[in-house]
Symmetry: C2
Subunit: 230 residues, 2 copies
Amino acid sequence: MNAALACAGCPVRDRAACAVLSPQEREELAAAGRIVELARGETLFAAGDESDRCATLIEGALKITSFDREGTERVLALVHPAGFVGELFTPFAHHDVVALTASRLCVFGTGTFESALHRYPALAETLLRRASADLYETRELIGLMGRRSAGGKVAGLLLAFSRAASDSPCHGAPSFDLPLSRGDMAGLLGLTIETVSRQLSAFERDGLVRRNGARGIELVDPARLGGLVD
Amino acid sequence: MNAALACAGCPVRDRAACAVLSPQEREELAAAGRIVELARGETLFAAGDESDRCATLIEGALKITSFDREGTERVLALVHPAGFVGELFTPFAHHDVVALTASRLCVFGTGTFESALHRYPALAETLLRRASADLYETRELIGLMGRRSAGGKVAGLLLAFSRAASDSPCHGAPSFDLPLSRGDMAGLLGLTIETVSRQLSAFERDGLVRRNGARGIELVDPARLGGLVD
DNA sequence: CGCAGGTTTGATGTGTATCAAACAATGTGG
DNA sequence: CCACATTGTTTGATACACATCAAACCTGCG
């Protein structure tokens, strides 16, 4: 399953890190990579493994997680299409990377990618932009986790999902599907599954949201929901 | 207070981001920068301000913080000498940057720094390394905040400080001064001042640590303290 | 000495974890 | 096609850890 000529039809070809390369530079890089498909729940990288690969997500969704010694999962970040995963400068992976849904990726050896970094300075700058953006996102997450009330955490997460589901960056989508299970939401916010579930039920009881099945969410009163966020 | 020829005697000249530059490249960059001194509590960057400056910390310590609308401070990161602060690719600053102690910095306009980035590819790669490291550190912090018990959080923070205070990366320093006030520790861990104080008192009562004044800490039983972590 | 900031300790209530069980959705094999 | 297991979600009862409110206590400093 070689990717040598896949770039032309790649759905993220103008948003991924490699978009800064010229078409021919990109094909060179692609020749060294390969397409990998992951089923929901499959692990791409495992914490502690040798960090010898990195990847651009083409379609699907990933989570970056770590486990404390009690075995409770903490979700550290979500990865969306065009996102980049993998640790370039560390010998071993810090965290697990797991597919949330069936996913397709363009995988490279870290060695080949690092040499590309030297060859194409624009690539290094793009990755720097991405790393900076990831950093702000992770700090946003800290802000979310640090809220005092469980209601504020869940409300903030719903609004974040709403924004992510919308095309326009200013207004959020009024209705969307939750991309995460209750367990993953709990892991992200530092709560338990039961507490997340109860908060959602309470939001529905108070007329803030409507639910369609376990995953469907319609924001009835986003403003009041935002009011809960601290 | 121009820094044109300060590099030669700069205490972080071989650890800061600019260390990858040749001496003459570095002098060129330094000519565009200036030394800034901050007293304890002074603000370097404020959230919402135009993000037009960045800096390398020469000596002292900084904290990166944000405030929720109730006005409680959340500490997102600490910056140590040779660290780099400032947001290069965003128009406005996301967070506040405040001096924890009297500090000295080498400050640049983001414009001059970004053009240096283009001119010296090695600089971009170094900043990428730093940004990646900052990212892992921030995710570590999430792991710390996500612990279930307050005891685990405070214990984890003490061990992190112990490691930071030590020269060798493997063993932590057995005794050191807490670099943060109770309030800052609380802001870092998502607890209250009182809870942090009570946990420290409990650790002392149980023979895990000894205290010298408000800031001095001696780890009597680091292993048992580590056992509390999770 | 008196004051201000930071820290410690105490008493009390509440929010969330925990334990437990019912429930819905989905798939499996007979 | 229907019992049946499986996985994820919801709801309930209870206990406890932490936040909150309040006051005492250092410690350095004018």
